[in-house]
């Protein structure tokens, strides 16, 4: 669950970058431009929200050598 969320953050940022450059295309028609605009605003908001609530996730793996020394 956590993992897919994080993946989304990085993907969202690259999508935002795509949207920014698409919108510079002046031949874009109104419907498409509006769609991109809305998508961008939603993504930016989601990214901000995601940062707000985030808690660092820490997992620990076993180091077999360490246990050998300790025992």
């Amino acid at each position: 669950m956590g993992k897919s969320k994080e993946t989304k953050f990085r993907d969202k940022i690259s999508r935002l970058e795509e949207i920014a450059s698409s919108l510079e295309d002046t031949t874009l028609d109104l419907e498409d431009a509006l769609k991109l605009y809305e998508e961008g605003m939603i993504l930016a908001k989601e990214c901000t929200e995601q940062l707000k609530g985030a808690e660092l996730k820490i997992t620990e793996l076993k180091n077999k050598l360490l246990n050998d020394i300790a025992n």
């Binding site: 919108l23 109104l30 660092l56 996730k57 997992t59 620990e60 793996l61 180091n63 020394i69």
Partner: protein, 396 residues
């Protein structure tokens, strides 16, 4: 009749110079450092003395870069170099090529020997240093479970970019067997799904404490890691072998975490500016469309069915209405800089880059990315870090 053997000062000095420089072209001297000065040019100037005598020394930055401890007055050192005479002042000094800490002895010598060996094998090559991921999702850490280093690193991560996952492989970071546990930690992380970068490190301590990071087994594990490794050991002044082998050396464990995580406050600010920029772009776009529609209505209105005209006007009005609503939400940040988003993610705000001497050229509110894209006949502006200068028009 002139007296024999009258020398000019210059002549005598040059003879002394030749004599001294020929006789002492490679000397190894031990003494105590005093009056040590780290000049802003990077060169070092100091006096080497003992109870009975003293001699001036200089060490060029190209040589002192290879000294991996911080010289301090009172420290006992061994230097190697040659005597040079400086005629304008009539003095002589040692031009120091190498310096080692005489007080540390064996460990320091082992350090130097391993450093030479690994360097000649190419483990320190710049060309093999890899780039770090921009926004990592999973960071592996090899350090002590109970050390200050781990606490510092997790605190930095929580503060800067809490969306990451940290995978810790605990290791012993001092004493016998420690280097092996660190090497094993690096191997384990290399077999762990999704780890994009590894930090190895520990807090400050004596040279003996830091020793596991100066051992060959650690150095080889760093070298053999498929995943980029950041080494953050001790304090700013501590250099270890693993620092040289790692893809990036960080001054401290905290600095290592800061290097690899973007700062969320930068990202948030950039996201705000991004939204504002987006809104600005849309506003321009729709106004432009509206102008087209208006002129169309004026010129050709009579020939177009009235319903169709009403329909397209409505659509435009609706779009503007929605836009204004969005702008209401973003009123505070209506200064658009789309590119700042990218800049923020590249670990630093744009001002940091500007302060290094770069500038941004903008025309009609947009960043000009190439010379070809600049219309020099029209006005444009140059943003420096401290001010913006408007240019009415320029010639190419």
């Amino acid at each position: 009749m002139p007296e024999p053997n009258i020398l000019t000062v210059a002549r005598l000095t040059y003879e002394i110079k030749n004599l001294l420089e020929d006789s002492f072209d490679d000397v190894i001297v031990t003494g105590e450092l005093s009056n040590f000065k780290d000049h802003y040019s990077g060169h070092w100037y100091f006096t080497l003395k003992d109870a009975d005598a003293q001699i001036s020394c200089s060490m060029w930055s190209s040589n002192n870069k290879k000294v991996f401890f911080k010289p301090q007055d009172g420290m006992k050192v061994i230097v190697r170099g040659k005597i040079t005479v400086y005629p304008p002042r009539g003095n002589y000094q040692i031009d120091v090529r190498e310096m080692r800490n005489a007080g540390v002895g064996d460990l320091q010598m082992a350090f130097e020997a391993l450093k030479q060996k690994l360097m000649s094998e190419g483990l320190f090559e710049q060309s093999r240093k890899r780039k770090l991921p921009k926004i990592p999702q999973k960071i592996g850490i090899v350090t002590s479970r109970d050390g200050a280093a781990l606490r510092d690193m997790t605190a930095a991560a929580q503060r800067r970019f809490p969306l990451i996952e940290i995978v810790l492989v605990p290791a012993k970071v001092q004493g016998a067997g420690a280097a092996e546990t660190i090497a094993e930690g690096i191997r384990i992380l290399n077999q762990t799904e999704g780890v994009e970068v590894i930090i190895i490190g520990r807090g400050g301590g004596s040279l003996e404490d830091l020793w596991p990071f100066n051992e060959e087994v650690t150095a080889r594990a760093v070298y053999n890691s498929e995943i980029p490794v950041i080494s953050g050991v001790g304090h700013e002044v501590d250099f270890t072998i693993s620092d040289f082998v790692a893809d990036v050396r960080a001054a401290t464990p905290t600095a290592a975490m800061e290097l690899i995580t973007p700062d969320q406050s930068d990202i948030r600010a950039a996201l705000n500016e991004f939204s504002a920029g987006l809104t600005g772009t849309m506003e321009d776009y729709i106004k432009q469309q509206r102008d087209v529609a208006d002129s169309f209505l004026k010129s050709a209105g009579a020939r177009v069915p009235a319903d169709l005209i009403r329909f397209s006007t409505q659509r435009l009005d609706y779009a503007l209405y929605k836009l204004n609503q969005s702008m209401e939400n973003n009123r505070n940040s209506l200064r658009s800089k789309l590119e700042q988003l990218t800049a923020a993610i590249s670990h630093g705000d744009i001002n940091r880059t500007l302060r290094r001497g770069f500038a941004i050229v903008r025309q009609e509110g947009r960043i000009v990315k190439s010379g070809a894209a600049l219309n020099a006949a029209e006005e444009f502006e140059i943003n420096f870090h401290d001010k913006t200068i408007g240019i009415k028009s320029g010639k190419e």
